[in-house]
């Protein structure tokens, strides 16, 4: 191998026979490895299925079409007892996705704020951030979830003594109730108006940017955008005759009915996941910012930039390169940790599908495999998006 790389005669290196070509060789080995691994899994699966059959355990995915017969506390899609086990899978999946997505957004916001607070020159602010981070990072998440759940339930009054804002919003230990919007014919126009407004805003922003580069003149993009977002849909709403009404919650014998409701399990879980993960993100943000050389700040000062723009335009973009990889793993952790929901009765995928559905049907292998596939898919998607973002943010060497 060494000799054809250091070929000094200038003649084309003679081609080695295929079994000696390192490229071909490594491809061949990889193919063999894949075949062996594939066969191993095939063997396990086959063996499992035939053993289960010989022991009288039902196998297969037919159960997904069977009527489920149990109720689920919260569902983003239409669901009742008469729907199928397949539907329970979807309901659980959406509930998992919902807390995960909301948790990721909130934890990121809080994490960034706390991370920056920690670096503040103000002694009190930086100490508050430190205490927050140290306390939350060092208490097991499951305990925190229980704590918030019990705290939420204890702090809130019963349905009859609800805290309320007028006749629209109620808060009690059964949840936070708000009116539900009911969209009537013509509301589509409003949606179209919103889309047009957004498109216009994007265009104006580009235009203003270009103009500023050429002439140096600034344009009040923010206020114009805000105006567009309010005026256009507002006009559409009025023109179509206000096609929107509200369904209010009202007190029934036991609790409130109608309207929209956020259940306390959701509040507690989301809060606990957010606060816990935010503590880790804060540390990541802090170390990311500290990794940016101090010379950058000094250079920004020399250019006359104030603190805010320095942080936003100079420091954070450079810090992001350090922040994104560990941030990705926090997002993955949050998603996986959301499965602790079962402990407080939030109907996530693990609770609904790997819990109740598994027990009603007894088809453990199929259901656990499906659940694992879901978590794997979610994790891979997050990694994929974050890797793409990472490449975008990476330093472009010029």
């Amino acid at each position: 191998m060494a000799d054809h790389q250091t070929d000094q005669n200038g003649t084309a290196p003679s081609k080695p026979p295929p079994w000696n070509d390192p490229v071909i060789r490594s491809i061949a080995f990889q193919i063999v490895a894949v075949i062996l691994v594939g066969y191993f899994f095939y063997y396990i699966l086959n063996n499992t299925l035939s053993n289960m059959e010989s022991r009288g355990i039902t196998t297969g995915f037919k159960f997904l079409d069977t009527e489920a017969g149990f109720g689920i506390l919260m569902s983003l899609i239409e669901y009742d007892e008469s729907h199928t086990y397949g539907r329970t899978f979807l309901v659980g999946l959406l509930n998992t996705l919902m807390v995960s997505v909301l948790g990721i957004i909130l934890a990121t916001i809080i994490g960034f704020i706390v991370g920056i607070m920690r670096l503040s020159n103000n002694w009190l602010i930086s100490k508050i951030a430190t205490v927050y981070i140290e306390v939350l990072r060092n208490i097991p998440l499951l305990l925190q979830i229980f704590f918030w759940y019990i705290a939420v339930l204890q702090a809130l009054p019963g349905p009859r003594q609800s805290m309320r804002i007028g006749d629209s919003f109620f808060l009690n230990n059964r949840g936070l109730y708000s009116p539900r919007p009911i969209f009537e014919d013509g509301f589509g126009m409003v949606v179209i108006a919103i889309v047009i407004a957004i498109a216009a805003i994007v265009y104006i922003k580009r235009w203003a940017h270009r103009r500023q580069e050429i002439t140096g003149e600034q344009f009040p993009v923010f206020w114009t955008s805000l105006g567009l977002l309010i005026v256009l849909p507002g006009l559409a709403f009025l023109v179509t005759g206000m096609p929107l009404s509200w369904e209010y919650s009202e007190l029934k014998r036991f609790s409130f009915g109608g309207g929209m409701r956020i259940i306390p399990e959701m509040m507690a879980l989301l809060w606990a996941l957010t606060m816990y993960t935010a503590a880790f993100i804060a540390e990541i943000v802090r170390s990311g910012i500290q990794a940016v050389s101090h010379g950058q700040t000094e250079a920004a000062r020399a250019l006359g930039l104030r603190n805010g723009p320095t942080l936003r335009l100079i420091i954070i973009p450079q810090a992001m390169r350090v922040i994104i990889p560990p941030l990705t793993s926090q997002y993955l952790n949050l998603t996986k940790n959301s499965s602790l929901a079962t402990a407080i009765g939030y109907p996530d995928l693990v609770s609904v599908f790997m819990g109740t559905t598994l027990n009603q049907t007894g088809q453990a292998v199929e259901i656990v495999a499906m659940t694992m596939a879901v978590y794997l898919t979610i994790s891979l998607s997050i990694s994929f998006v974050m890797n793409w973002y990472n490449r975008k943010m990476a330093l472009v060497e010029r």
Binding site: I44, N47, T48, N51, M52, S54, R55, G56, I57, T58, G69, F70, G71, I72, L73, E81, I150, L153, Q154, G158, N173, R174, K252, R253, F254, S255, G257, P264, E265, K336, N337, S339, L340, T342, A343, I344, G345, P347, V350, S351, M354, G355, T356, L358, N359, Q360, T361, G362, A364, V365, V368, A369, T371, M372, Y375
Partner: protein, 339 residues
């Protein structure tokens, strides 16, 4: 969580895949280990709960103790695996336990599709409701719109849906993993009511901070025959568990107790003699010795002794025999004859 899921999958899949032979001879396996591995609940007073000396006691526990007395000669040779409702069947299928004795309802689906067999009934139960007293509810028919605390993976979940649908009512179920969490949810006033098998309602109430704040409604909405479960395909082990229970129940019918078992060995009654092994070879037919049932009665007591000690009038639960009385005393507890 990933690792827990993996654990379940490995238990459910790979164990089934590789341990296919392990199920065949549970008896040999148990004799080799020197103990019976018994799956019980995570702590329901009267059925399975570790006492102050960390000894498990309860009506479900006594089934395993009876089998250990019959097979190993010592009712104490049992090890316990506490299981939530969700974990129980997988634990049995994968061979982690030898007997599942965990207030488990005998149903068609469970008996036919899980690769398991129910060996009998040690308690006839039915599903009931525990309601917050301050609500002033007198009947389950008034529960439209109520929130219910309930345990995941139980027949309770399905019965509840059926009952409410049948009566044109709506409910919101808050589903927890263990009975302690379920009770805490109810006590924190998250739900208006808690539902489970009636026996367990009484048991849970003894654990509450304010037992008098909750009342049990009169309605019983389902049949819940609770009994021990074993793996399908090991008929000898199935027979041993089934006939240990039958001996336990028949001993009550024949008036044999832990106190008089030795004396009864001299009895002239042929039924008593067969049960205590002074005549016949019923023990050998199970692959055991002839004193198997004598040891059950001597060490565990007969069914009535177990019942009274754990859930009956001499226990905090104070449950009356009711349908669990013997067939000739107004109940439906009936064991086939020992002959």
């Amino acid at each position: 969580m990933k690792s827990k899921m993996l654990g379940v999958l490995v238990a459910a899949g790979t164990a089934v895949a590789f341990a296919a032979t392990a199920s065949a001879a549970t008896l040999d396996d148990v004799k080799k280990k020197g103990h019976v591995q018994c799956g019980v609940n995570t702590g329901v007073p009267g059925f399975a709960l570790p006492d102050s000396k960390n000894q498990w006691t309860g009506l479900d526990v006594d089934v395993c103790r009876a089998v250990a007395a019959a097979v190993l000669g010592d009712a104490g040779k049992v090890k316990y695996t506490p299981l939530t409702a969700k974990e129980r069947f997988t634990a049995l299928q994968s061979g982690e336990i030898d007997i599942l004795s965990r207030n488990t309802t005998w149903t068609h689906t469970r008996d036919t599709s899980l690769g398991l067999n129910f060996a009998g009934v040690n308690y006839y139960d039915g599903q009931g409701f525990l309601v917050n007293k301050s609500l002033g509810v007198k009947s389950a028919k008034e529960l439209d719109g109520a929130s219910v605390c309930i345990q995941a993976g139980t027949t309770t979940e399905l019965n509840l849906a059926d009952y409410f649908k049948q009566n044109g009512m709506k409910y919101k179920a808050v589903v927890f993993d263990t009975s302690d969490q379920t009770r805490q949810g109810f006590e924190a006033n998250r739900c208006d009511m808690l539902t489970s098998d009636a026996s367990q309602l009484y048991a849970l109430r003894t654990k509450m901070k304010n037992p008098n704040g909750a009342i049990v409604l009169p309605e019983i909405i389902s049949k819940e025959p609770l009994g021990p479960v074993v793996r399908q395909g090991d008929d000898q082990w199935f027979n041993i568990v089934r006939w240990s229970m039958n001996a336990w129940i028949n001993a009550e019918e024949l008036g044999i107790t832990s106190g008089n078992a030795d004396k009864m060995k001299g009895s002239k009654n042929p039924n008593v003699k067969r049960l205590l092994g002074t005549s016949g070879d019923l023990g050998q037919k199970l692959g055991l010795d002839n004193a198997w049932a004598y040891r059950i009665v001597k060490q565990v007591g007969n069914y009535s002794e177990s019942f009274e000690r754990n859930v009956g009038m001499s226990s905090p639960l104070k449950i009356a025999r009711g349908v669990n009385a013997l067939w000739n005393k107004g109940g439906i507890m009936y064991a086939p004859p020992i002959r």
